[in-house]
């Protein structure tokens, strides 16, 4: 079962992603800040990172760099309320860029694509979240 690390400072957002991704058949781990996320990635076993950008302390763009320092092959999907971050060249290093939405289908599609590139398959061809 692919393991996704959800990094977000907003607790309810973490709850949402955990619920929805677990329902979709992923194993979910969460981190509430950049340093926590880096630590978790350092421990290994993560297949995809879902990373919020706007966080107090270390912001997502910086965390992205640090994660890639640890594992250059690890796909990181940036998930943020800002659309303008697409223009920040640092974010080009990310696997994908998803604007936060109540509809998580795009996010799930990006995760599947990222896993496919790593030669992994998405859990359950029958997507329970599909509407």
């Amino acid at each position: 079962m692919p393991k996704i690390l959800v990094v977000d400072d907003d607790e309810n957002q973490r709850l949402l992603y955990r619920q929805e991704l677990e329902l979709a058949g992923y194993e979910v781990d969460t981190a509430a800040s950049g340093p926590q996320a880096i630590e978790r990635v350092g421990q290994g076993g993560i297949d995809v990172v879902l990373l919020d950008i706007a966080m107090p302390g270390m912001d997502g763009v910086e965390v992205l760099g640090r994660i890639l320092d640890i594992d250059r092959q690890l796909p990181v999907i940036l998930n943020t309320a800002y659309s303008s971050y697409k223009e920040d060249f640092m974010t080009w290093a990310a696997e994908a860029y998803v604007t936060k939405s109540g509809d998580l289908s795009e996010l799930r599609a990006r995760i599947c694509e990222a896993l496919a590139k790593r030669g992994q398959s998405c859990p359950g061809s029958s997507d329970p979240a599909k509407e």
Binding site: Q13, K100, G102, D103, L104, A129, E131
Partner: protein, 845 residues
């Protein structure tokens, strides 16, 4: 022709007689005009007469107006009022200089028209007005001489000049100017030529002049430059006082006739006495009769009364007793008296300075006629006429003209004030000759009349130094004014202390100088110590018993006063000086008004320039703000705050819709949705609060609990970022008037900002101290600091340096603090962190 002027009977002159006289003059005048180039003033004059003749011969010409390109014939009125042809000479000269041939003709037409206008004017009028004609005509016969500046030869001269000098036309042809004016040698002429390049006209009231008979006199001279046949020449107009000569010659003729008659009568002595009493004694002229031994045998009342003596006291006195040594010996009066005794020739002198003890200097004309004394022995009739007033008028008019020209030549106020003061204080031909002059101007804003500038020495020693340096140098007003550029700064000039101290409140209407300003009258103070109009302070500052204060008024507007005195020489201030000061002050007021208006206009222009600059930068600011406030920017700033809860709500809502049976999970998710909705509502409320002035709920309360509650609220964030807290709170702070909710918001924003400024950890210092400005609460971080270019903008809406900031936090903080009458200040340097200090006012007890 030599005595042309005298051949016209003065008292009965009427137009037909003038015409008849002109008839006899026509040929010589025209001949002379042909002889001379038409561009000379003499030629012009001759031509004018010829034209006048021509016009008057043909009555049809009388109806013809002036040539259309020339000024209108107001000259008729002006002429009748006594303006002479002489007044046209400056205009004539400039016309002649500009375009000699064509223009001179135009000028001559004008001249002729002016005379014609007079003639027309006179045609229907009485004999009395004919006398005015006479005056005008006499002025037109001013003696005029044209001198080559290079060779000194006389190039032209009019009849009056011949009369004045006593030469015949034949003699004059071989004359050089030094024969008439010994001083005017080549070097002097060159100097004069240079001066005349700068000034159009030079006036000398007493220029040394030598007559054909060797007598030396002084004449008033107007000198100017003209071009004469391509040669630079000097035109000298000599004031020969023809009226007096004529009057006296008539008097002499009458006296002679009477003498002839008397010699045939028995009761000659009685008749002579009667003649003196009835005629001579009534004359305003001062007359004395002296015998061969130069002793006085008779004097008229005008003479002895002026001396303060009786007739008998004067009898037997010698000329040495009654005439000053300078006049008698240096000026040559004794020689003249002896010469007339010996030759029987009449001598007429003008422009002598007469000094006698206890009297101001006078300028007199003296005439010496041979006569027989009461005892039948040969004697001399000496006639003395005081012409000071006439000279003074000429002098004053010229002086005032020169000063007002100087005043009108500048719009720069300091330079103008200097010109006015120099006009009052410069001596000689340059100014009124007061020792010291001060200008005080009204300052409405401060409600005072205060000294702006003064010219003159500080003390007697300085005066001596300055005056001895100036003595022997002929200086015009222009020369003095050129010194302005070399003056030290105002604070280092003489009289700077006086200028500094001389300030009078505008409301002090009882005393000088306000009294002069309010009444509009020039005030002449003779004894400052005992004059109730002089306040002790003013007297103390001036240190001068006698002074003049002239108001500077333009219509109703009171600009200031001019003060002048002779505090060094203590020279008596005469009525004529006061009169001159008044005239000068009138001119000065106009000039100052003009300069002040100009300065105001300039200041207004400067203000407009500044306003324009302000407007430009405001426009730029506006553009910048507009850019920041574009929808994209606002959305970017607010999006994060809205999108997070929104996506949470949306996500969980979908999950509830998708799995409605998952009761337990949905319960939790619904709660999350409620929480996030509340969060959104709060966010929205915050935004709305910012845009809507919130009423303040002030309550007197201690500050520290509020600070502590906010620090508690933000403890997690600090811990998270590895930030330590340092507190430095004074224990005995007074309670303050605060809206706790709003003030808490301010603190929260500031402390969050501080936390966010140190993502890699640091220290927040919160301190509160009572100071004399109020309670100063400051929040200091050890972060990156705020770039200098951002410092001035940080309190503006939607200004943010943080990627996730809304740009509302500090703007809101300041708005809330404004409502508390509190101030907020920021201090920061790159790398040094930032400190925000709130200054909370103490409550009004």
């Amino acid at each position: 022709m030599e005595n042309a002027v005298q051949t016209v009977p003065q008292s009965e002159i009427v137009a037909p007689q003038l015409l008849a006289w002109l008839e006899t003059q026509e040929e010589p005048l025209l001949a002379r005009w042909r002889e001379l180039a038409p561009e000379t003033a003499s030629g012009a004059y001759a031509l004018a007469l010829a034209l006048l003749r021509g016009r008057l011969r043909d009555p049809g010409d009388l109806a013809a107006g002036p040539p259309p390109e020339l000024p209108g014939p107001n000259s008729a009125e002006a002429g009748a009022l006594g303006l002479g042809l002489l007044d046209l000479l400056p205009a004539a000269r400039s016309l002649l200089a500009a375009a000699p041939v064509e223009q001179s003709e135009a000028f001559l037409n004008l001249l002729a028209h002016q005379i014609l206008g007079l003639e027309l004017d006179l045609a229907g009028r009485s004999q009395v007005e004919a006398a005015k004609y006479e005056t005008v005509f006499q002025q037109a016969t001013e003696a005029m001489v044209v001198v080559s500046l290079e060779t000194g030869r006389l190039l032209a001269y009019n009849d009056a000049a011949l009369v004045l000098s006593g030469y015949t036309r034949e003699q004059a042809a071989s004359l050089e100017v030094t024969d008439l004016a010994p001083q005017l040698h080549e070097r002097r002429r060159r100097w004069l030529a240079r001066r005349l390049q700068i000034e159009p006209e030079i006036f000398s009231e007493r220029y040394p002049f030598r007559r054909a008979d060797g007598q030396e006199a002084e004449v008033a001279v107007h000198a100017s430059l003209l071009t004469f046949g391509g040669e630079e020449a000097l035109l000298a107009v000599l004031h020969a006082e023809p009226d007096e000569r004529e009057m006296e010659s008539r008097l002499a003729a009458q006296a002679q006739a009477l003498r002839t008659e008397l010699s045939q009568k028995e009761d000659g002595l009685e008749r002579l006495k009667e003649f003196y009493e009835n005629v001579i004694d009534a004359m305003p002229l001062r007359l004395i009769v002296i015998d061969e031994d130069l002793r006085i045998v008779h004097a008229n009342p005008a003479y002895y009364q002026q001396r303060g003596l009786t007739h008998d006291q004067l009898l037997g006195a010698t000329v040495d007793d009654v005439f000053a040594h300078e006049l008698l010996e240096d000026a040559g009066l004794r020689r003249a008296l002896e010469s007339t005794l010996a030759t029987g020739e009449r001598i007429w002198w003008s422009g002598f300075r007469e000094q006698s003890p206890g009297h101001p200097e006078r300028i007199v004309n003296i005439r010496i006629d041979p006569c027989k004394g009461p005892d039948g022995r040969p004697g001399l009739l000496v006639t003395i006429e005081d012409v000071s007033e006439r000279y003074r008028q000429i002098y004053e008019r010229t002086l005032l003209q020169e000063i007002s020209q100087a005043m009108l030549s500048t719009l720069d106020l300091p330079r103008l004030l200097h010109a006015i003061l120099t006009g009052i204080s410069a001596g000689g031909a340059a100014g009124l000759g007061f020792n010291r002059a001060i200008l005080m101007l009204v300052d409405e804003d401060e409600g005072v009349l205060k000294a702006e500038m003064a010219v003159g020495p500080d003390n007697a020693r300085q005066a001596e130094a300055i005056w001895s340096e100036l003595s022997g140098r002929y200086r015009t007003l222009q020369d003095f004014l050129q010194d302005y550029d070399r003056l030290p700064p105002p604070s280092q000039r003489p009289l700077a202390d006086l200028v500094q101290q001389l300030v009078v409140p505008l409301r002090d209407s009882e005393h000088l100088p306000m009294l002069a300003l309010l009444t509009g009258e020039t005030i002449h103070v003779l004894d400052a110590q005992n004059d109730p109009r002089v306040s002790p302070e003013f007297a103390q500052l001036l240190q001068s018993p006698e002074f003049v204060v002239a108001p500077l008024l333009v219509g109703e507007r009171r600009l200031g006063v001019a003060v002048a005195d002779n505090f060094i020489t203590h020279k008596v201030i005469r009525g004529s000086d006061v009169h001159l000061m008044t005239s000068l002050a009138n001119q000065a007021a106009l000039a100052i008004d003009r300069a002040q208006l100009f300065r105001e206009a300039q200041e207004r222009a400067d203000q407009l320039t500044v306003a324009l600059d302000d407007l430009k930068s405001a426009e730029q600011e506006l553009l910048r703000n507009a850019r920041l406030a574009t929808i994209g920017q606002v959305t970017a700033a607010v999006a994060h705050e809205i999108r997070n809860p929104l996506s949470t709500i949306g996500g969980f809502a979908r999950s509830i819709v998708r799995d409605p049976s998952e009761m337990q999970r949905n319960q939790r998710n619904a709660q999350i949705i409620v929480d996030e909705t509340t969060r959104l509502e709060e966010l929205l409320a915050g935004l709305l609060d910012f845009s809507r002035p919130d009423s303040l709920q002030l309550q007197r309360q201690p500050l520290l609990p509020l600070v502590e509650s906010v620090l508690e609220m933000t403890a997690d964030e600090r811990e998270h970022a590895g930030i330590s807290l340092r507190l430095d709170l004074a224990p005995d702070l007074p309670d303050l008037e605060l809206d706790s909710n709003q003030f808490r918001q301010v603190l929260l924003n500031l402390i969050r900002n501080a936390t966010e400024a140190m993502p890699l950890g640091g220290e927040v210092t919160v301190s509160a101290q009572p100071t004399d400005r109020g309670v100063e609460l400051s929040i200091r971080d050890t972060g990156e600091g705020i770039p200098a270019q951002s410092l001035e903008h940080i309190f503006e809406s939607f200004f943010t340096t943080k990627p996730t900031g809304t740009g509302l936090g500090l703007a809101l903080a300041r708005k809330i603090l404004d409502a508390h009458n509190a101030l907020i200040e920021v201090e920061s340097a790159p790398g040094q962190g930032a400190a925000f200090t709130i200054i909370l006012p103490y409550p009004r007890s």
